[in-house]
């Protein structure tokens, strides 16, 4: 398909979105990521029964934490995608890229830069 999508998107592979620990995502923000999104199987189609549903609730939880600490919950998102839907993958990448660009850089990074 070779659909183009923004090069800021970097993929980290995990066995199942149910494996996502809240810490993984918070760590990414701590390190300066401007946004993180999790892409799991379609709901009801989880290869491991219900991992994607757990991921969804964890993302919701992370969004609350991010809101509380002033980073902004919108920077973390959950998407569901079927493994054959390349066009949607590219679409999500563009969507997320635009959303984060609108929000601007991660405040933690700014703070670190100022401190330095």
């Amino acid at each position: 398909m070779r659909l183009q999508y923004p090069s800021d998107i970097k993929v980290i592979i995990i066995p199942c979105t149910g494996k996502i620990d809240i810490l993984h995502i918070l760590h990414a923000f701590e390190k300066g990521a401007d946004g993180v999104y999790v892409v799991g199987c379609m709901e009801g189609d989880c290869h491991y029964t219900n991992g994607n549903l757990r991921a969804r609730s964890r993302i919701k939880h992370i969004q609350k934490i991010l809101d509380t600490i002033g980073i902004g919950g919108e920077r973390a998102q959950m998407y569901n995608l079927s493994s054959n839907d390349g066009p949607r993958f590219a679409e999500i990448a563009v969507e997320m890229d635009e959303k984060i660009r609108k929000l601007g850089p991660n405040p933690i990074k700014l703070a670190q830069n100022t401190a330095a």
Binding site: S7, K10, I14, G18, D21, D45, H47, Y48, G51, S82
Partner: protein, 1136 residues
């Protein structure tokens, strides 16, 4: 030991190097921590590329390897093998995808190079934290399962069986063969599908290694590669496999006819059927749905659908015999039953309910009971007394006698029949009908004692003395209710309806008066009025206090009475009877209006003040209800009565307060219908039988109570069913009928009855008439067969579940379903097939819908639902070729003068011999028009178009629109995924692609594998393909499965969870999270432990473990953080 990383970036020709400056990436990597060597190379996956890695490992003592190239799905295993060859544990390898995730999807060269660098840095950082892991080895079960018995499934099963491995072939339908066996010829060689297909079917059934499990579906798959446990649901065939000889006698006698799925609805089959004569297994199968609603509605539980079907076949005696299994009085109920069955009849959804009662009467009238062989009775010595010879008593007597009991009926009157005899006049129920049916019951050996009145001549004690084990009281309700108005008691000319009808029925034909008023609105009132008319009353008036709508009498009786000039005063209530010299001299009434509904749900009549009026008359007959007359009640104190003056019983067993005494009919229910009395009789029969055999009746009553609700899975009502009006029996001319006691209703004629019976929709499909059981000499039929569940263990599974074709009905422009001579491809195959509905003649429908006409002009429309963004974007891949085959077959069978028009988009004749076949058809004179048909219409605008179907299209080669009139249109409708593909995919863990077909592991390099190891695909379930391709794929899948089975063991990736025992706090949260129940709690150590055999490595436990003790190997916290940090830390250094 220090970490020494080797990094390699692949050019992939220009695939990567065209966008990513690979040398720059290698230079960048070379400077990263622990990187000993960094190289770029044209094709890392090539032999020299792999050798380079192996050599470097040895030469530079590398203990980590990172390759930045394509997707790990493609070559991770390749490079892991290279590491293994160089004695490096393959899990010390990491791959960065710089083709699929970078060069192919990034426009800008700088951006691409930067991204490639970050991904390389991430992989290098991650590999630092990799740990040595060893593949686990599992034993592979040597047996293999193939799901689907079409050509692919058969081929795979045969290949496996021939290799000496056991194979289970599971087929959903009653026969193997699949779609291919529905075809006539096969392109391009024109082999007969049956000639090449049936030998394969026979091979399958004769191969000792193949266990064919037909008419079954897989319901559950558990386990993993090499060790699957499969649950299979075997649907009941109701015919025993191995016992059935396939003679087909059963189908000849089966009265049910439904459209045949095998013939695509063009032909019919019976409820007991076999798809086609060469079916494998040869065993017939009965198609049963839930019990028909009419039979559920029948209080007596008569198999209504069964006898209606038997009548449609002219088998009246068999119909009567079937009715008599639940009802000893078919002729009686065929006349007086309130037919609750008819209001449940689903034919009502089309037009009118089947005239079930009239059909019952017809069957009874056309059966000579004296010729009917009585059933064989196994005698037993216990005696049962039945008091009362009404419908409930006769039912109890008949069915207890059939069970062998010695039954004696005691009757107060001199004649038998109870209310049937003395309550219903002859013009509605002729006494001979009752006589014949009672005679039949008595022929079985039921003894009678008439003129013996219970209570005065006979007591319960007497019966006990005489040695009766049980007594049934069916004493009826033979006493009229009073109107409680002045003048009712002692005026001459007032006589209650029960007494009046009894006198009339016993032969006293005295006219009650010149002007007769009948009070009431039930059947008794109407019977009374009509009887009075027949006895010579000049004027008969029925007075009823509600409106006609509330009248409980049957509508046809009210209608008959009106025709006989009987007057009706509705909304009129009695006030008093006027008398003159002790005789009736008028009936004073008051008008009423309807108030709010009362307890019975009917609106309560309220008197309108001042509206009193007098009906002149000399006789008044109240018919307002009945009660049981039991002046002996005091002498039987143990028998408890309800406040409503009925006998108190347990309604499930009909047992009274005295254990050996049972009761039913009007004496229990109050005045009710005959069929309800029969129903009560059945309950009493079951209970008395159990009582005599010492069973606990209370327990039995509870069992009856919990009996499940009947299901509602009935045969679908076909679309476009012609409306046919209900048969109405002839009635006697009212002028004649009002003067004689001859039966008014003349019943249906034979042709009317058969036509009426054929209107039945066969809701239950099999009507359980048991004709098949009667003719089956092999005794192979068992209507009580139950579904079975089977469990087998296999090492691998091949899915070959095939395809459906798209229903072209929603594509209105092609007129399928609207114009009778528009056919689908599979329909044409059946039309052309020698075992099809026309015996292989290509015929189209005439104006009656019968296949009789020969088509001379035929349009074949390609790409119906394929290559169409509105339906399926893909090409169905076989249509062009079968369209050519059709053209050839039509020329061959109909004649070479036939004009055939192929409307195509592109001709795709790509296989061996295909192009040559195309040439041949062109030479045969088939017209090829490039263009898709826009519309099929019957609106002629030119004389030659009249009576034809006109195909309107654009010929895109000529660039002009055309109209071609034809006789027949064939739609090459698309192949599509099975409608249950999603469910099947879920069971086997196989995904569907966007097109709905099962998704292979890799479109080119893994077309037989799926995402689930040990589950393979074969045939069209993976995507449209022709027979040779399907067979190839089947053999390929068989080899894949055999490779596993013959090696006997398999490596399983060690990527599973592990709980660090030193860190685990024993909170057990992970135990609930694990979808495979793979974590157990070790009480002694107070920690949770992963069962490695069950763990699938999803990481659900690791995602939540509060202490971080649970980790997925190869995806542990350190490794993921390292990858993340690798990306982010490198961003600055690459200059973003």
């Amino acid at each position: 030991m220090s970490i020494r990383v080797g990094f390699y970036v692949c050019h992939c020709g220009i695939n990567i190097a065209g966008k990513v400056r690979v040398e720059e990436v290698a230079d960048f990597a070379r400077k990263l921590k622990n990187v000993v060597i960094a190289r770029d190379y044209k094709f890392m996956c090539s032999d020299p590329g792999q050798e380079m890695i192996e050599k470097d490992i040895r030469e530079f003592n590398l203990n980590r390897v990172v390759v930045a190239s394509c997707s790990p799905r493609l070559h991770e295993k390749t490079f892991q093998s290279a590491c293994r060859r160089a004695a490096l544990n393959p899990y010390f390898f990491q791959m960065a995808s710089v083709r699929e995730q970078v060069s192919w999807v990034t426009e800008d060269e700088d951006e691409a190079t930067q991204k490639a660098k970050t991904l390389a840095a991430a992989a290098i950082n991650r590999v630092n934290y990799h740990e040595r892991l060893d593949d686990r080895e599992a034993v592979v079960h040597p047996d293999i399962m193939v799901v689907g018995g079409g050509i692919s499934g058969m081929q795979a099963a045969l290949d496996i069986g021939n290799a000496g491995h056991k194979v289970y072939l599971v087929e959903k339908s009653t026969t193997i063969g699949g779609h291919m066996l529905q075809f006539d010829k096969t392109f391009p060689t024109l082999d007969c599908a049956a000639c090449i297909g049936t030998p394969k079917m026979v091979d399958v059934v004769q191969n000792p290694n193949i266990e064919l499990i037909s008419y079954s579906e897989v319901t559950e798959v558990s386990g993993f590669i090499g060790n699957y446990t499969v649950k299979i649901r075997r649907k009941p065939r109701y015919v025993k496999e191995g016992v059935c000889t396939g003679c087909g006698e059963c189908a000849n006698v089966c009265p049910v006819s439904v459209p045949s799925e095998w013939d695509e609805g063009l032909g019919h089959r019976a409820a007991i059927y076999r798809a086609f004569p060469q079916a494998v297994p040869i065993t017939f199968c009965i198609d049963k749905k839930d019990r028909a609603p009419c039979a559920i509605a029948c209080p007596a539980g008569i198999n209504v659908q069964g006898y209606v079907q038997l009548i449609s076949q002219g088998k009246y005696r068999e119909a009567t015999r079937l009715i008599m299994e639940r009802l000893p009085l078919p002729g009686v109920l065929g006349r007086v039953c309130p037919h609750p069955c008819e209001s449940q009849c689903r034919r009502l959804e089309v037009d009118e309910a089947i005239a079930i009662r009239d059909l019952k009467r017809f069957a009874a009238d056309h059966t000579n009971l004296t010729e009917l062989e009585p059933p064989e009775i196994q005698e037993c010595s216990e005696k049962v007394a039945v008091v009362g010879s009404g419908p409930s008593g006769l039912t109890v007597a008949y069915y207890l006698r059939l069970k062998g009991y010695q039954v004696t009926i005691y009757e107060a009157l001199d004649v038998l029949g109870g209310m049937l005899r003395v309550g219903i006049p002859d013009f509605r129920l002729p006494s001979q009908v009752l006589d014949h049916e009672i005679d039949y019951i008595l022929r079985l050996g039921v003894k009678t004692r008439t003129g013996v009145r219970f209570g005065s001549d006979l007591t319960l004690n007497d019966l006990k003395q005489e040695g009766f084990s049980a007594v049934f009281l069916g004493i009826g309700a033979h006493d009229s209710l009073d109107m409680h108005i002045p003048g009712e008691k002692d005026t001459q000319g007032v006589m209650d309806a029960v007494r009046f009808l009894r006198q009339v029925n016993l032969g006293d034909k005295t006219c009650p008066g010149r002007q007769v008023v009948v009070v009431g609105g039930g059947n008794v009132a109407i019977d009374t009025a009509r009887a009075a008319k027949r006895l010579g009353a000049r004027e008969v008036t029925v007075v009823y206090r509600r409106s006609e709508r509330e009248m409980p009498a049957y509508a046809e009786e009210i209608e008959g009475a009106k025709n006989e000039e009987i007057r009706f005063f509705f909304l009129t209530a009695p006030v008093k009877i006027l008398e003159k010299q002790g005789k009736v001299d008028g009936f004073e009434c008051i008008r009423t209006k309807l108030g709010p509904p009362d307890a019975s749900g009917r609106r309560r009549p309220l008197p309108v003040a001042g509206s009193e009026f007098v009906i002149p008359c000399d006789a008044v007959i109240p018919a307002i209800g009945q009660k049981t007359h039991a002046p002996w009640a005091d002498r039987e104190p143990d028998l408890i009565w309800s406040p409503r003056n009925t006998l108190k019983v347990n309604l499930r067993t009909m047992q009274t307060s005295i254990p050996y005494v049972f009761a039913g009919g009007d004496a229990v229910m109050g005045p009710a219908t005959v069929i309800e009395a029969v129903a009560a009789g059945h309950k009493a029969v079951e209970a008395i039988h159990r009582y005599i055999n010492g069973e606990d009746l209370d327990l039995y009553a509870k069992q009856v109570e919990v009996r499940e609700q009947p299901g509602r899975d009935w045969q679908e009502i076909p679309d476009g069913l012609y409306r046919k009006s209900r048969a109405h029996p002839q009635h006697l001319d009212p002028k004649l009928s009002a003067t004689s006691f001859d039966e008014v209703d003349l019943g249906l004629s034979e042709s009317e009855a058969q036509r009426e019976a054929r209107r039945c929709l066969n809701c239950g499909l099999c009507c359980e008439c048991m004709e098949c059981v009667r003719v089956c000499e092999a005794n192979a039929i068992d209507h009580r067969m139950k579904e079975k569940e089977l469990e087998v263990k296999v090492g691998s599974i091949i899915i070959a579940t095939g395809y459906d074709t798209i229903d072209p009905t929603p594509m209105k422009q092609f007129g399928y379903g609207k114009y009778p001579n528009v056919f689908t491809a599979l329909e044409f195959e059946r039309l052309s097939n020698a075992t099809g509905p026309t015996g292989g003649e290509i015929l189209i429908r005439d104006q009656n819908g019968e296949l009789t006409r020969i088509p001379k002009r035929v349009a074949i429309l390609h790409c119906i639902g394929s290559r169409d963004v509105n339906y399926h974007e893909y090409c169905s891949r076989v249509c062009c070729m079968y369209a050519l085959k059709y053209a050839h077959l039509i020329h061959e069978k109909v004649g070479h003068d036939a004009q055939i028009f192929n409307f195509y988009i592109d001709m795709r004749c790509f296989g061996k011999g295909y192009e040559e076949f195309y040439e041949r058809c062109q030479r045969e004179g088939t017209h090829f028009i490039r263009g898709k048909v826009a519309e099929i219409t019957d609106q002629a605008i030119k004389p030659e178009e009249h009576g034809k179907l006109i195909t309107i299209a654009e010929d895109t080669l000529l660039g002009r629109s055309i109209r071609i009139p034809v006789d027949m249109v064939i739609l090459c409708n698309a192949i599509q995924a099975r409608s249950d593909a999603q469910e099947v995919g879920r069971i086997f863990g196989v995904n569907q692609g966007a097109d709905g077909f099962f998704l292979e592991e890799h479109p080119k390099l893994g077309p037989l594998d799926t995402a689930t190891d040990g589950v393979f695909l074969a045939g069209v379930c993976q995507g449209p393909k022709d027979i040779p391709d399907s067979v190839c794929q089947a053999s390929g899948a068989a080899v894949k499965a055999l490779a596993l089975a013959t090696r006997g063991k398999v490596e399983i990736a060690p990527i599973i969870s592990w709980i660090d025992p030193d860190v685990c706090a024993g909170c057990q949260t992970c135990i609930d999270l694990c979808p495979y129940s793979a974590i157990e709690y070790n009480v002694r150590k107070g920690i949770s432990v992963v069962n490695e055999a069950l763990c699938k490595g999803c990481g659900s436990c690791a995602g939540f473990c509060p202490s971080g003790a649970a980790q997925v190997k190869h995806f542990n916290e350190k490794q993921i953080f390292a990858e993340l940090e690798g990306i982010i830390d490198s961003l600055n250094s690459v200059g973003i």
